[in-house]
Amino acid sequence: MIGGAGFKLSHLQAMLLFALFVSMAFGFLSRRQPLERFKYIVWSLLLFLLVGVGIGWAMYPFSR
């Protein structure tokens, strides 16, 4: 159904998508009020990205 090559996403795009989907799932499951949900999703997304980029930089010295 999906072509042989599949989607071509960069590391950053894949990480952004992953963080967005998981943050939204967490937000919808753990908060009831729309505003609280939105805040939770944004906060969770930012933390995902911060930790992801942080771990990426922490691994940089060992990359070669």
Binding site: G4, L9, A14, V22, A25, F28, L29
Partner: protein
């Protein structure tokens, strides 16, 4: 007399509630969002369905590894359990991934994580629906 009847009815009601909650949990696992839909939690139902579906769609599209039951080591078995967490979407992922997995590039590796995460998130959602049906939390 009334008190005795009430005392007898309480465990029956509890048992009935447990049964319904279990069925709701299983339904939520089989079809993402169905557990919440049965509880009339429409927002959560739609969110679970779409988010798990999107993770499976992108995971399969990036040619992630969809584990099967005949794995060779513990990681394969754990991966299979995680993938199975998506319920019927596991079969959907198999249908979508016509060319098979390709983890020789980063995209395929990300795809594997997407698929496993979709399963684990769906299990979390099914457990949430089960707990909500038991009246524990919502």
């Amino acid at each position: 007399m009334t008190e005795e009847t009430t005392a007898q009815a309480a465990p029956q009601q509890y048992s009935q509630r447990e049964k319904i909650a279990f069925i709701i949990g299983i339904a939520g696992w089989l079809l993402p969002g169905l557990g919440h839909a049965l509880l009339k939690m429409w927002g959560r139902a739609v969110a679970c369905f779409l988010l798990v579906g999107l993770l499976v769609f992108f995971g399969a599209g990036m040619r992630g590894n969809l584990f099967s039951s005949n794995g060779s080591d513990a990681f394969d078995s754990l991966g299979y359990l995680a993938d199975l967490g998506t319920g019927t979407f596991y079969l959907l992922a198999r249908t979508l991934e016509k060319s098979g997995p390709d983890v020789s590039h980063a995209g395929g590796d990300y795809g594997t994580r997407f698929l496993a995460t979709a399963g684990v998130l769906n299990l979390l959602a099914a457990l949430h629906a089960y707990e909500a049906a038991r009246g524990r939390k919502a």
